[in-house]
């Protein structure tokens, strides 16, 4: 049985359908990544799957008794609230010291218990969020752009950690990302979203799908085009020329290629 499945869900903000007719299912132990440009409804989809947003139509079914861990996109702990890492791990369910120590060691932050949350680096913070989510022994871990604000090595390290977690605990992982490279390497299945599901499948299948290439403005090129795309933030395929450069963008002149 699928851990979580959505059947034709539509989410509206006012009159505008942000998601229309999205169906998907998460199977035990798989890593699924939702990929899409800004405003494509990625976070909306996750929040709908978590039951936070009301559905205009469709329905979501969970495996009975599903244990779910969630790592939000950004969690800013207001400086007005003092909070040690140890205390944070006990929200909302209190956990024992041994469990907390283990969870921190698991995410590569041993001995961090007494540090203030507000004093952590971005990478440490995300790992503590992950440690908290792991404490409920989740069968499904949902992460919303978990590496936002991390540098490249931090990001790569975080995705390695996610894979380790899956290997050790067998938890399925559903995450949102707009980071094409890492996602392609670290996912079993990719769902390409732009208000609806454009295409889905294994990373290789999706990266060759015309819908995916159109959505990300890749033309017929490979990695270089991808790189350019991220810099000029254009989703128009015709802005990228045959060499993968955007000719109208002064920041990427000939000397850059």
């Amino acid at each position: 049985m699928s851990l979580l499945s959505a059947h034709g869900i539509t989410v509206r903000f006012g009159n505008e359908a942000v998601l229309s007719d999205v169906s998907l299912a998460i199977e035990p132990g798989e890593i699924v990544t939702i990929l899409g440009p800004n405003g494509s409804g990625k976070s909306t989809l996750l929040r709908a799957l978590l039951g936070i947003l009301p559905l205009a139509s469709g329905n979501i079914t969970r495996m009975p008794g599903l244990r779910l861990g969630y790592v939000p996109q950004k969690l800013s702990i207001d400086r007005s609230m003092p909070m040690t890492v140890r205390r944070f791990l006990s929200l909302p369910v209190r956990v024992g010291d041994a469990e907390a120590t283990d969870a921190l060691a698991r995410v590569g932050l041993p001995g961090l218990e007494s540090r203030q949350m507000a004093g952590l680096s971005g990478g440490q913070f995300q790992r503590v969020l992950l440690a908290r989510a792991l404490l409920s022994a989740p069968q499904l871990l949902i992460l919303d752009e978990p590496t936002q604000g991390l540098d490249q090595p931090g990001e790569a390290g975080f995705y390695r950690l996610i894979e380790e977690v899956r290997r050790e605990t067998g938890a399925a992982i559903l995450m949102v990302s707009h980071d094409l490279h890492v996602v392609m390497a670290a996912s079993d299945r990719v769902i390409c979203l732009n208000g609806h599901i454009c295409c889905q499948g294994s990373p290789v299948v999706v990266s060759n799908a015309p819908e995916y290439r159109a959505l990300f403005g890749l033309g017929s090129q490979g990695a270089l085009a991808l790189y350019q795309h991220q810099h000029d933030h254009s989703h128009e395929p015709d802005l990228v020329d045959a060499h993968g450069r955007a000719p109208t963008d002064p920041h990427h002149g000939h000397n850059h290629a």
């Binding site: 936070i52 969630y70 007005s80 929200l91 949902i142």
Partner: protein
């Protein structure tokens, strides 16, 4: 003559009994009232600071004056009138905020208009003008035994409510999505805080007055921030500072015949300044 003598004996007896209990000493009552209030304002004030609800506290407490007018007009106990109006105001503000109104402006309109309407309404009630400053600035030295019972009952109710929902309240305060994903309902936790705030306003009216209730929530909690490492210790420090401010303010009010609310809030501000200096020194 014998009647007078007998009466005198009875009065002496009562006074002796009162001295034994201490409750007939207006100073003891005042001190107990202050400590009772601080029990509730410590933890609730911490939430007001964490959730940036300062203006929310203002709107609710200013509405208390409207509650006083209502109580006097309908001949209800002041506490009941205040509670009803504070609850209505807190509910209105939460609802509007949840519907996405510009919270800052909305609260600004509501806070000040509640005060203005309250003052206008109260001027229609005959014979209250003289007492008005009591409701605006508090009168801790005039706390009766019935007041004391009301204050402690209300405060203990608030504490019980916050202790019961503590873990859920903290989670929802950190991040509503996180609370949702853990199976909690952030709207319900917001309602708990709204209810607690209305209760505290009703309780605090007699002690600090409608104008400065929000200060009593925020200043001790702000003083506690620099010294605490966890939410619980911040709430505990805030309670201690609140109680201390009430006792010092009470002394000041008695000694200099100053209004109670402003005296207590002044004391709290001095504590805040000392805590800020101490916190900075400790951090080096």
């Amino acid at each position: 003559m014998p009647t007078v003598a007998r009466q005198r004996t009875r009065i002496t007896d009562i006074i002796m009994l009162d001295n034994l209990l201490g409750l007939d000493d207006f100073l003891v009552r005042a001190a107990l009232a202050g400590v009772g209030l601080a029990l509730a304002t410590g933890p609730l004030g911490s939430f007001v600071v964490w959730r940036r609800m300062a203006y929310f506290g203002d709107a609710t407490s200013h509405a208390a004056i409207l509650g006083v007018a209502l109580a006097l007009a309908l001949q209800l106990p002041i506490g009941v009138g205040t509670l009803i109006v504070a609850m209505a105001m807190a509910g209105t503000v939460s609802t509007l905020a949840a519907r996405g109104w510009a919270v800052d402006t909305t609260l600004g309109v509501l806070a000040h208009s509640a005060l203005a309407f309250g003052l206008v309404a109260i001027s229609y009630v005959p014979g209250v003008r003289a007492d008005l400053s009591t409701y605006l600035f508090g009168d801790i030295l005039a706390v009766s035994k019935a007041d004391l019972g009301f204050i402690w009952a209300g405060s203990l109710l608030v504490v019980a409510l916050l202790v019961w929902r503590w873990q859920a309240l903290l989670t929802a305060t950190l991040n509503e999505d996180l609370a949702h994903a853990s199976g909690l309902n952030p709207d319900r936790e917001r309602l708990v805080l709204t209810l607690a705030l209305a209760l505290v306003v009703a309780v605090a009216l007699k002690i600090v007055g409608a104008l400065l209730i929000a200060a009593m929530l925020i200043i001790p909690a702000a003083a506690a921030r620099g010294l605490a490492r966890n939410p619980e210790s911040m709430a505990a420090y805030a309670t201690g500072f609140g109680a201390l401010a009430c006792l010092v303010g009470l002394r000041l009010s008695l000694w200099q015949d100053t209004p109670a609310g402003p005296s207590i809030v002044s004391a709290a501000t001095v504590i805040f300044a000392l805590a800020a200096v101490f916190g900075r020194m400790r951090r080096g």
